[in-house]
């Protein structure tokens, strides 16, 4: 009961905070909608209250994920410091009161729907509802394309949960079955789109073609726009391929290395997407920051948290200022903003690399209990 009251308090406060922000600063949503850090060509849409509710729904999914305990105890791995953890409501509060989440919500960015799809895929997976998980992932992939890369780690998570909860399924059959469901759900949604738009190829090129070919180089917090502005036209296609492959290549490596912690693979991949996807915004970062506290027990093992957090704060504050100097005041140039987006990506990369290091250290300590707490040296 006590937990429930806390939960109601957190959810209520989060809702009221958003409402207050909108009422006290009526121009805030429009201001945020126009910010390049938040709004990219692929995620602008309108209507606030609905977005408040979507945020609360996302927080609920986070609570489910947290309460399953998958972050500390998986089928093949058990964390060394599992006593250091936050409960579901704290993690939901961390998500709901994160300024990045609030900004995304008030800006009415459609990225939150992708976030919902991904969080529900994960929360259903930890509950063992693999079919629902795949359908949610299909929804997210249909909206934003890149979540399809999460298929393999999500399948590992579903597979592990199924093996834990009932009986070990046949791996090949399990993967093929769910792959078919994912394909079917995406094709079904595309079929609906076709019924509505009636012009399939124009629809495809305007949506997925846009994601894949990156024709709009409006500045955002990502790394693509500046690179492709500078790139020679004849090499554009090649480097589009390189950038997409770079993004996709992490899936295999992470999956192989972190096989024992599938939820951590998903978390880390979301971090990779927040840095390297074609049109990233702070909503992608907010999703990564929402899942990272699930690994509270890894924080003591991380080494560069101060530097990473400083870089992120520094760039969050200076980014809008430099953008203003460049676009409105005219006293700066594109390099001001671009440099800040580099710092932002650097901060995220350090956080990501450091958390992966901590996870590997955790696994190492489990294999070598005698060296727990000792200084490690990378050779």
């Amino acid at each position: 009961m006590a937990v429930d009251r806390r939960k109601i308090a957190v959810f209520g406060a989060a809702f009221v905070l958003r409402l207050l922000l909108v009422c006290l600063f009526p121009s805030l949503p429009d201001l945020l909608t126009g910010r390049v850090e938040v709004s990219t060509p692929v995620n602008s849409f309108k209507r606030p209250i609905f977005y408040f509710l979507v945020d609360l729904v996302n927080a609920q999914a986070l609570i489910t994920i947290s309460e399953s305990g998958q972050s500390v105890q998986t089928r093949l791995h058990s964390a060394m410091r599992k006593h250091i953890r936050w409960d579901g409501v704290s993690i939901a509060a961390w998500f709901l009161f994160s300024p990045f989440t609030i900004a995304t919500c008030l800006a009415r960015s459609t990225s939150v729907f992708t976030t919902t799809g991904i969080l529900y895929a994960v929360s259903n997976a930890v509950d063992g509802n693999s079919i629902n998980a795949i359908l949610a992932l299909g929804f997210a992939s249909y909206i934003s394309l890149y979540p399809a890369l999460l298929f393999v780690p999500l399948m590992l998570l579903c597979y592990d949960r199924q093996a834990q909860l009932s009986k070990t399924p046949n791996a090949a059959v399990f993967f093929l079955q769910h792959g078919a469901i994912l394909l079917g759900s995406v094709v079904g949604l595309l079929g609906f789109s076709y019924l509505i738009t009636r012009n399939f190829w124009e629809f495809m090129s305007a949506t997925y073609g846009f994601h894949l070919l990156v024709p709009d180089l409006t500045p955002n917090v990502g790394l693509w726009w500046y690179f492709f502005i500078e790139m020679f036209d004849s090499f554009r296609e090649f480097f589009l391929g390189v950038f997409w492959l770079h993004l996709a290549a992490y899936v295999g490596g992470f999956t192989a290395r972190l096989r024992r912690q599938p939820l951590f693979i998903i978390t880390s991949l979301l971090g990779v997407f927040a840095i390297f996807k074609p049109y990233p915004s702070i909503s992608d970062a907010s999703l990564y920051f929402a899942l990272l506290p699930l690994y509270r027990h890894l924080f003591p093992l991380m080494r560069y948290t101060f530097f990473a957090i400083s870089a992120l704060l520094y760039s969050s504050l200076l980014g809008p200022a430099f953008y203003h100097l460049w676009i409105y005041a005219g006293s700066g140039n594109a390099n001001f903003f671009y440099a800040i987006t580099l710092v932002w990506s650097l901060g995220l990369s350090i956080l990501l690399a450091d958390s992966i290091f901590a996870a590997l250290r955790d696994e190492w300590e489990q294999a070598h209990p005698e060296s727990q707490g000792k200084e490690v040296k990378q050779i």
Partner: protein, 558 residues
């Protein structure tokens, strides 16, 4: 990359540290070794299975096939020798058929005797010949129409008419039609026995005179720049005229140093004085027109001011100072608006204190600026209320002399020959001259493109270039055969298409961009990003391969 580099120590490294330090890392489990192998394999699988195909597909250079030999042959003039057979109809209504046929034969004979430039020749035909054949045959209207399409353009109609009070033949050319009237004393009807009657000689001489300038111009163009006897004046005229363009932009500007005149009936003036001329030019070029009024337009401080001439009672400009008349720094005369080249026509109304203004040497009030436009000085009657002042408004009627001048300047700037006096004939000449110019220029563009693609094997040739080239070659062929058949308007139409397509293929963006892109630059394109990504991947792969080989050797040894 973190997963690879952040991995634990490799067997070799651990062996190295074993000897040097006391603290020994525990040996790697076989599971960890396998995991590392899988990680490296996962990255390399993406690179090999997806990366290399994408690299191959996106950076391979597409070179469409071009008919190089044919393009070079066009350039070298091996395929087409342009000829200009002009069909001239002769009508002699007062003569017997046999008499007129004799006249035709003898005139043609003396024409051929005169002509030393074979590419350009005049073919005489009796005007009633074709109508007679049409009347005899029972053709339908459609086939008649088709026949008209196939028939050569009639360059000129010569009407041979008797006139009683003449002692020698005389001729009269119509200024607004392609017609030459030749009047002869009735007693000079050529006898069938005479081989060179005076009337034939006269007609031949007249025709020769009409087409002498055109013949010289075409000879000059076809021979390149080699100097001939009278090519000095022709090359001077060609130098003054603009390069051919599909569309010209005409800009009419009224400049005055004071506040008035501040308006002019330019729209009506253009419509009345210029539009008929531009319509007549339709088969050759298109035109767009814009106008402006600029008040308080002062001379450049560098330009010598006009001088008052007592004898002329006028302000005069020296001929050698005319080049400084246009104040290029301050007068807003755009060099080019839109796609085509701009022809500027400046109407200058001098200040009342400097009116009237003339050119000193010849009392002229206008001059041409070669390849740029024309200037006309307009000295309107001053109104004498308090002090002499220019009128506030220039009426259509007062613009008339200026626009007559501008029309003349326009004709010159577009390369129209000065003779004969009939405008339709001059325009026809221009059609033939332009067809010849475009045929040569498109052919030479083809040759340049062929040589360019041969000499730079690394530039891509998009499919659009190949299709432009084939369109160009087709239209060059059509131009050549149309010229041979004497259908010059059709020839110019094809030549215009050929020229446009040839230019498009030569200046194709994706091709030109690559011309100055040497292979060394590719290092600069690839390395900054792929270098940092590639080094850990390659080092990881090498270590893994080394480990596998070492493992195999150890197993073989055991």
């Amino acid at each position: 990359m973190t997963t690879i580099n952040g991995d634990q120590a490799s067997p070799k490294a651990s062996a190295a540290t074993k000897s040097s330090t006391a603290r020994v890392p525990p040996p790697e489990t076989s599971e960890a070794v396998q995991t590392r192998f899988r990680v490296i394999a996962a990255f390399w699988a993406v690179i090999v299975l997806l990366g290399f195909p994408i690299w191959w597909k996106t950076t391979s250079i597409y070179r469409a096939h071009l008919p190089i030999q044919e393009m070079v042959d066009w350039d070298e003039g091996k395929i087409c020798r342009p000829v200009f057979p002009l069909e001239i109809h002769v009508a002699a209504p007062a003569m017997q058929i046999s008499e007129s046929q004799h006249l035709l034969r003898t005139t043609q004979h003396s024409l051929d005797d005169f002509n030393e430039f074979a590419a350009h020749h005049l073919r005489l035909k009796l005007a009633n010949d074709t109508s007679a054949s049409n009347a005899n045959g029972d053709q339908t209207a459609e086939t008649e129409h088709e026949a008209a399409e196939e028939r050569a353009d009639i360059a000129l109609t010569v009407r041979v008419l008797p006139q009683d009070d003449l002692t020698a033949p005389r001729s009269e050319i119509h200024a607004d039609a392609t017609q030459l009237d030749v009047f002869y004393p009735p007693n000079q009807v050529p006898l069938p026995s005479s081989s060179n009657p005076p009337l034939s000689a006269f007609i031949a001489q007249e025709l020769q005179g009409l087409y002498s300038e055109e013949k010289a111009t075409i000879a000059h163009i076809l021979s390149g720049e080699t100097a001939g006897s009278d090519s000095e004046s022709i090359s001077r005229r060609l130098r003054r005229s603009m390069k051919y363009a599909d569309t010209y932009h005409l800009s009419f500007s009224l400049f005055t140093p004071g506040p008035v005149p501040s308006s002019w009936d330019i729209e009506a003036a253009v419509k009345e004085y210029l539009t008929p001329l531009l319509d007549a030019f339709a088969p050759i070029s298109n035109f767009t027109v814009d106008t402006q009024v600029q008040l308080y337009a002062t001379f450049s401080p560098m330009a010598p001011p006009p001088v008052y001439d007592e004898a002329e009672t006028a302000w005069t400009l020296k001929k050698e100072d005319l080049s400084a008349f246009i104040n290029a720094a301050e007068w807003p005369l755009n060099p080019s608006i839109g796609s085509g080249p701009t022809l500027n026509f400046v109407l200058y109304v001098p200040a009342p204190s400097q009116s009237p203004m003339l050119v000193k040497e010849n009392r002229a009030s206008s001059w041409i600026v070669p390849q740029w436009g024309g200037v006309s000085l307009l000295n309107p009657p001053l109104s004498e209320e308090l002090s002499p002042s220019n009128p506030k408004h220039l009426t259509q009627e007062s613009l008339r002399p200026a626009f007559m001048t501008f029309s003349h300047q326009l004709l010159t700037l577009l390369g129209t020959p000065a003779t004969p006096s009939s405008l339709p004939l001059r325009l026809q000449t221009l059609i033939r001259v332009r067809a010849a110019t475009l045929l040569l220029s498109a052919s030479s563009t083809m040759g340049s493109l062929a040589r360019l693609t041969e000499s730079l094997p690394s530039i891509p040739i998009p499919a659009t270039v190949a299709s432009s080239v084939s369109t160009t070659l087709t239209h060059l062929g059509t131009t050549c055969s149309s010229l041979r058949d004497g259908r010059f308007a059709a020839a110019l139409a094809s030549a215009r298409v050929a020229e446009t397509e040839a230019e498009r293929s030569f200046f194709e963006k994706s091709m030109v961009g690559q011309v100055y892109f040497p292979d060394e630059h590719k290092v600069a394109v690839y390395l900054p990003l792929l270098g940092p990504i590639g080094v850990p991947l390659i080092v990881g792969l090498l270590k893994e391969v080394k480990r596998l080989i070492a493992g195999r050797k150890a197993r073989a040894g055991a």
